[in-house]
Symmetry: C2
Amino acid sequence: MSITAPDGFVAAGCHAGVKRRRYDMALVAAEDRKPVPAAAVFTQNKFAAPPVLLDRQRLAENGGQAAAVIVNSGNANAGTGAAGMADAEAMAAAAAAALGTDPRDVLVCSTGIIGTPLPMDRILAATPKLAKKLSAGGAHDAATAILTTDHVAKEAVIRGTTFTLGGMAKGCGMIAPNMATMLAFLTTDAAVTSEEMTAILRDAADRTFNTLNVDGATSTNDTVILLASGRRGRPDLKEFADAVHRLCEDLTYQMARDAEGMTRMVLLRVTGAASDAEARIAAKNIAENNLVKCSWYGGDPYWGRLLGAAGSAGIDFEPEKTEVAYGGIIVSRGGTNADHDEAALAAHMKQEKIEIEVALGLGAGAAQVIGIDLGPGYIKENSRTS
Amino acid sequence: MSITAPDGFVAAGCHAGVKRRRYDMALVAAEDRKPVPAAAVFTQNKFAAPPVLLDRQRLAENGGQAAAVIVNSGNANAGTGAAGMADAEAMAAAAAAALGTDPRDVLVCSTGIIGTPLPMDRILAATPKLAKKLSAGGAHDAATAILTTDHVAKEAVIRGTTFTLGGMAKGCGMIAPNMATMLAFLTTDAAVTSEEMTAILRDAADRTFNTLNVDGATSTNDTVILLASGRRGRPDLKEFADAVHRLCEDLTYQMARDAEGMTRMVLLRVTGAASDAEARIAAKNIAENNLVKCSWYGGDPYWGRLLGAAGSAGIDFEPEKTEVAYGGIIVSRGGTNADHDEAALAAHMKQEKIEIEVALGLGAGAAQVIGIDLGPGYIKENSRTS
């Protein structure tokens, strides 16, 4: 069910021919085809793809509402210029025609290779058939159709006191390989305004999706969209915000587990930084450092590389005040080796999910990221697109 | 000859037992054991190793002079705290005793694993023997003894009108694997002051060593030292500066060719940026992007990833003004695909050294870096230290 679990939404997925065989188009729509409040968070990349530019513009112009979201995978419609913008508009128009709604209330997302025009003939031919398939049972088809190099569909549902929240996502990191991007679509039957949802979604995305760092790259197409049918009335707003956060967190972990070539996931916490901002910089610098990532792949508790990465992050850093722990086992104190239980450490390093804390001992700043190891699988998936 | 090619220097290398079998200690000294003008450039990492801290302090205190440099490989004496500082001092003192010079005029460098104390018994036992081996014929032994995961020794000589400049280096990038760091040692028989050499060396390092980006990491031990015996009198300072630049460039290319797991080297030029500083940021962001690096490994001219990396670098960026060329063949213009000669492009991508220009079309800012591809060899060398 996932995205159709909340009252008032239907979904579908189909094979249009962007990819060779697999499902490659998805549609999520308000059951009555009427616009509902919508909120979205987009990539910060200045090389943003036409569908991102179009959605931003539409939500700004129509006051934050949408009747449907049409998505294709296999081609990102990025690096396609003005022709790409016309293609995104045509996709929205085709969906609107099939649904009998205003094109300005249709959002568009694309994910896949960059720099190649969308096969618009196939997309336009498939859209009416896709719209006919819309049903409450179509959620899993839609969740499958948005995938690129993902191995599994990512879906989640949270049932609140007075509302339901559903979601699906794709992505193997902030950006994934050939086939780029993370996309997430959330629906709810709670009655919330676009403004309320925007604030809640932005905060949740910051604390979940934006803490996942597969390769430090930022996609041209990243998009998270939340639609609210309002069918079940006003929620407790705090409970609702918390549910959005938990749903995003659930989808984030599903993405992390499916990351490109991933063999090990790392919950990396930087504490004691001069500020939260400095903690975030340090965490990012550590999680993106290839020497660190290789040591994670090898299950090697090489704390010297963590401090080396933190020390070159451009933040306040005093080796003698630092402390590094793997799975709660302190291995370094004051910038040098600390005696520790080798057997317990080795056991922790064998886990698929390891925990690291780098304590800087300077202030109260803290940040957490989910890091992914760097192994041969990542290179295999990313060295050739054609 | 390399480092002993200039008049007035002797060198030696030996096996002390820091590594299992190979040479692991080097000594370079003024032939008459008297201090000569010296200049140095060090890592910017705030987790700098004790030998770096010691050398910085000594050069500041003695007005920029040195009679010798003692080096060990296999252990970086980093992440070793106050005990590590005492070890670095003891190394210098041992060399000074063997040479009959003041310990304050001996510089110390270490490279290798982080976080493990130096085996001082072996180092101190080997030092007198090492000093006895000093000769004009010892340059290659010294160049071999400073290596870690390097496959070949890196040496170069430039003969100017009135002077000779020699050099040796180790390193597989700004930081290399288990065994970290880049080190370079230069000697000359020109008569130049410490101040003159410091300015010249800093500028040369910025334009050579600092443009090499294997993995974006900054070592705890990076050091470049230049010693001048003065035996052949005043040089033309411009010719001398140019020679230092060319020697550093030669050593940089030798390091790039030997980079960890490297199969392809990329001369990446960013032009048309709003400023040189923005060009450097863009070049760094591109050269460190794992998706880009994987595409280099695969010989894939995936320009979309280059623009995606530039667009997320936080600099001024307007897709419609950009142009991307591989080997002078323009493959993208205005942020979209540009018609090009596919056969010529494929031929260029097969080279071991490819050239890329990302033109941003905004201003006169330019920067060049030497990037290295990311292949399975890098992971193999970096996933386990023990």
